[in-house]
Amino acid sequence: MSDTLNNGPVLAADGTPLKKSLARSLRVEKLRALALVAPLLLFVLFSFIWPIGEMLFRSVDNRDVGQVLPETVAILKDWDGTSGELPDEAVYKAFTADMLVAIDAKEHTKLGTRLNYEKTGMSSLFRKSGRKIKKLDLETDGPFKETLIKIDKKWGDVETWKVIQTHSVNYTNGYYLNAIDMQRTPDGVAVQPEDKRIMMTLFKRTLWMSMIITGMCVLLGYPVAWILANLPARSANLLMILVLLPFWTSLLVRTSAWKVMLQQQGVINDVLVWLGMVADDSRLVIINNQFGTVTAMTHILLPFMILPMYSVMQTIQPTYLRAAKSLGATNWTAFWRVYFPQSIPGIGAGSILVFILSIGYYITPEIVGGTKGVFISNRIAYHISSSLNWGLAAALGAILLAVVLVLYWAYDKIVGIDNVKLG
């Protein structure tokens, strides 16, 4: 009665609103739950989320130029690079002043390295000029325009100053532009010269080959998962061990084994030659190309496809197939109309897993991929460890992460993430 007459909030016995009272009673539980996950949460925060955030920040962070050359950057802002004329004396003076400070702090080489990403030769220019600028005196050795040009004629080149001007902003989109084969120029955003375009090719190749690998895993894994799910428990367990066996072997060992198998003097070619199917002088090239990468990665990622498929198929009762047959369906129709649709969540889960794993795969393409079969992650690794262009590596990584998230979102829209079952 009172419920229908009283439109206000429902009250608990002591007169407080029921919702408030409920929230209070649940708070303790929530706090306890939080306390239980807190250690892991903190660990993940410090060891995973924070470093990733830090890394991603590097993809836009460009404070080096402004920090090392504060005066120069401020004055250079007003210079019109498109006029084709060199900046005036004030800029040169400010630059010399900035450099003297930087050389003391040994930061001018860092700046050289940074600018070298944009224009080759900048690194050595800063290093070499640094030694001479060090000896200059700001009070007595002017005018600095001539002095600097005498030290290195590149200081008399408009392009050098353009590079400094273009990349003097604190937060840049330059790395992201580089990551998609574009570049930041004084005249705005432009496409990289043709000989420098590689990223988009790599991105496309990574996506395309990951799709092929996922497809191969579905084709090869589905029958295996089916057998596993339909065998009596004992034989299924034995087979399961065979499926899991690769997990107990180092990834590097398995990949190297493929190297032994696939190379031109390798096992497969030897057997084919011995069988007379391939002439000795025209051995198949099946490594250091896309074929090698796809073969090895399909093998390595196959268990990640089989396991989710298996766990989904296990839940499909055999009576469904029987029911379909009793209703008049042939074996194939029963499978296709009744069994297969129910196994799709497994395929979905396996595909997401394999696709996301392979999109970021590094070791296997590195070893068996040659130049034609490497992925974007190999490029990232190169920029992390060889060229030390961490900004670009971070930008590539961020794009890769975004691609995965977009695909995940698309999958959720199309298939529904609730339909994914991992166990």
């Binding site: 469904y320 009793s326 209703l327 369906a329």
Partner: protein, 366 residues
């Protein structure tokens, strides 16, 4: 033991045997014929071979030996999907990824029936089980009883002449089960389909069937209409399995036509009807239904043998009284009496005399 071949047999099992491992026969020499339109129940404890028989008929198991015929044609080598037998499974096996209408439409689609025809048939089948409004739902959105109806409708939608049901009511609660029992028999008789129903629930078997085949140990122990089965069990197993039964063991003292006298192990004598005994001195188990035991002396024959019994427990069950007695050393002797105004309520500790008509007490195999 199994019934004789009849001319109007629709389904026939001829000397059918089945073994899974080559060592044990799960079904031993089964002979059975089912006339058209009959509702036959296969009843038995688990492992008695009843479900195996059903699966052989459906085509999911092959007979190790013997022949199964439908309408005179051997179906041993016909795959399940060509047998045209409707089947209702224990857990319904409704396809979870299809709506109810799609589930029903499935058998019609695989038979390449046109769309308009299909829709008409699906609608008719849904109306038949009073689920006309549920076509667009998914199986998971239905209750157990509703799923059961849909499973039934799906097995009937393509108008099979034979329908098999494998413990279809096992998962339902008692009330719903009783309702569905009634509905299934009604439907089966209305449509004139032959039904083979497997269950381990004897009440279900008795209330639903035209005939019941009681399975045990891979053989049909008895096949008869429910009343015959209940009142004249042919052996101790059937007597024990169908309904409640009191058993006493003893030796045959004398046989005279349809009556015999049995000396119980305690030395007392009782009247019985010889069923599986034919000579004096033979050991026997006599079986008597709780509701046929009489303790009002005035209602017994003057010369009837009576037994002394001690009342151990009196249980009030509403419509009946259930009294546990100690009779000839048996502590589990039950009698049931109707709750009528003039009915005597026995009290524990009381000693009474019980007796029965010779015809109600069956002397079976030992």
């Amino acid at each position: 033991m199994a019934d004789t071949k009849s001319a109007d047999a629709f389904v026939e099992f001829e000397r059918v045997q089945k073994s899974y491992d080559g060592e044990v026969l799960v079904v031993k020499d089964l002979n059975l014929s089912i006339p058209k339109g009959e509702f036959l129940t296969m009843l038995g404890p688990s492992g008695s071979g009843k479900t195996t028989c059903l699966m052989m008929l459906a085509g999911f198991e092959t007979a190790t030996h013997g022949e199964i015929k439908i309408d005179g044609v051997s179906i041993n080598n016909i795959p399940p999907h060509k047998r045209g037998i409707g089947m209702v499974f224990q857990n319904y096996a409704l396809f979870p990824h299809m709506t109810i209408a799609e589930n029903l439409s499935f058998p019609l689609e695989v038979r390449k029936i046109g769309k308009s025809d299909r829709e008409a048939k699906v609608k008719r089948a849904l109306d038949m089980v009073e689920m006309g409004d549920f076509g667009g739902r998914r199986p998971a959105q239905l209750s157990g009883g509703q799923q059961q109806r849909i499973a039934l409708a799906r097995a009937l939608v393509f108008e099979p002449e034979l329908v098999l049901m494998d413990e279809p009511l096992g998962a339902l609660d008692k009330q719903l089960r009783e309702k569905m029992q009634f509905e299934i028999t009604h439907l089966a008789h209305e449509l004139g389909i032959t039904t083979v129903y497997v269950t381990h629930d004897q009440t279900e078997a008795l209330t639903m069937s035209d005939r019941v085949a009681v399975f045990d140990d891979g053989r049909i122990q008895q096949i008869d209409p429910p009343d015959v089965l209940y009142e004249s069990p042919k052996n101790a197993f059937v007597a024990q399995f169908i309904g409640e039964n009191n058993t006493l063991s003893g030796k045959v003292k004398s046989i005279k036509g349809n009556e015999c006298v049995v000396v119980l192990d305690s030395g007392e004598e009782i009247d019985a009807m010889p069923v599986n005994v034919n000579e004096v001195g033979q050991r026997t188990t006599v079986s008597i239904r709780p509701e046929r035991v009489e303790f009002d002396k005035s209602r017994l024959h003057a010369d009837a043998h009576t037994l002394k019994a001690e009342v151990l427990e009196f249980i009030y069950m509403g419509d009946i009284f259930r009294t546990r007695l100690r009779v000839a050393g048996n502590d589990e002797f039950i009698i049931k009496s109707r709750n009528a105004p003039d009915q005597v309520r026995l009290t524990p500790g009381e000693t009474i005399e019980i007796g029965w008509l010779a015809a109600d007490c069956r002397a079976l195999d030992a």
